[in-house]
Amino acid sequence: MFPLSWLLIAWIICLAFYALIALFTLSTHLRYGVSGLGTYLSAAVFTVGILSVCAMVAGYANHVDWNQMADFGSFADAIFGISA
């Protein structure tokens, strides 16, 4: 058992790494794409997709008690029917 907040911290670290790659991808797209609506629209769709998911997760995270302990025993029991 470990604090649930560890999951959130791990998720944020992965997100930071992800943001670097996404920014680089976006800059490549804007740098080498043809100037026009298609380039801006596709970049906007990509960005909005990412921001929407982050906003949803942030909205959910506001309602979670991150101080509670993560119990993987009951998780395994619930999913696989394995008793701890």
Binding site: L4, L7, L8, W11, C14, L15, Y18, I21, A22, F24, T25, T28, H29, L30, R31, Y32, G33, V34, S35, G38, T39, S42, F46, G49, I50, V53, C54, M56, V57, Y60, V64, D65, Q68, A70, D71, F72, S74, F75, A78, I79
Partner: protein, 197 residues
């Protein structure tokens, strides 16, 4: 960004004739994948809610589902956008003077090739396969005097028409170059007639 009205290294009197990308049908795997990454989480969520709703009562499990699911979706979204970039940043530009081929190779590779029309010797258009024939897209290969084929238009729409137009443009460009050479070296008329025969 590439501005089609102001191409790099412009040639005087140059006009844009074609701006080509691969046929949009080649994006079908991408569209199916996007549909899958949107529908699969919804289906899984519906299954859990209807078949094993007691799982959602446990905050640990719900948190893992939300964080894990969002992480998977974000990485899949990034991967699909990179697949789209591979399509979107590959382009072939045909003007009245040259052909420019731009190929994006992953995120860290890019090849830009340029070929003057008067150097084209042979063009081959290939349409092969059921999907290619139904949607009329295929390959256009341009052969120059060099041993290696330098230019290949992949999965472009209406390849026979593209090949025909490029051949015509190459012929016009060669004639204009010949006239320029004649004017430059002030060849007398008698010599001109001999060379034409």
């Amino acid at each position: 960004m590439i501005d089609l009205k102001h191409l790099p290294n412009p040639i005087p009197g140059e006009r844009l004739v074609f701006f080509l990308r691969r046929h949009p049908i080649t994006l079908l795997p991408l569209i199916v994948s996007i549909g899958a990454i949107i529908l699969i989480p919804i289906a899984v969520w519906w299954y859990i809610q209807t078949q094993t709703p007691e799982i959602l009562d446990q905050p640990t499990i719900l948190t893992i589902i939300v964080l894990g699911g969002s992480g998977l979706f974000l990485w899949a979204w990034l991967f699909l956008f990179q697949y789209f970039l591979d399509y979107y940043l590959d382009m072939w530009i045909v003007t009245t003077r040259r052909v420019i081929a731009i190929q994006q190779i992953g995120l860290f590779g890019r090849t830009v090739s340029e070929l003057r029309l008067n150097r084209i010797q042979d063009i081959t258009a290939t349409v092969k396969g059921i999907a290619h024939t139904m949607f009329d897209f295929g390959f256009v290969e341009i052969q120059t005097a060099a041993e290696e084929k330098r230019f290949l238009f992949e999965d472009v729409s209406n390849p026979n028409h593209v090949a025909k137009i490029i051949l015509e443009l190459a012929e016009v460009d060669r004639r204009e170059h010949l006239q320029d050479a004649v004017e430059e070296f002030h060849m007398p008329e008698r010599q001109q007639n001999t060379s034409e025969h």
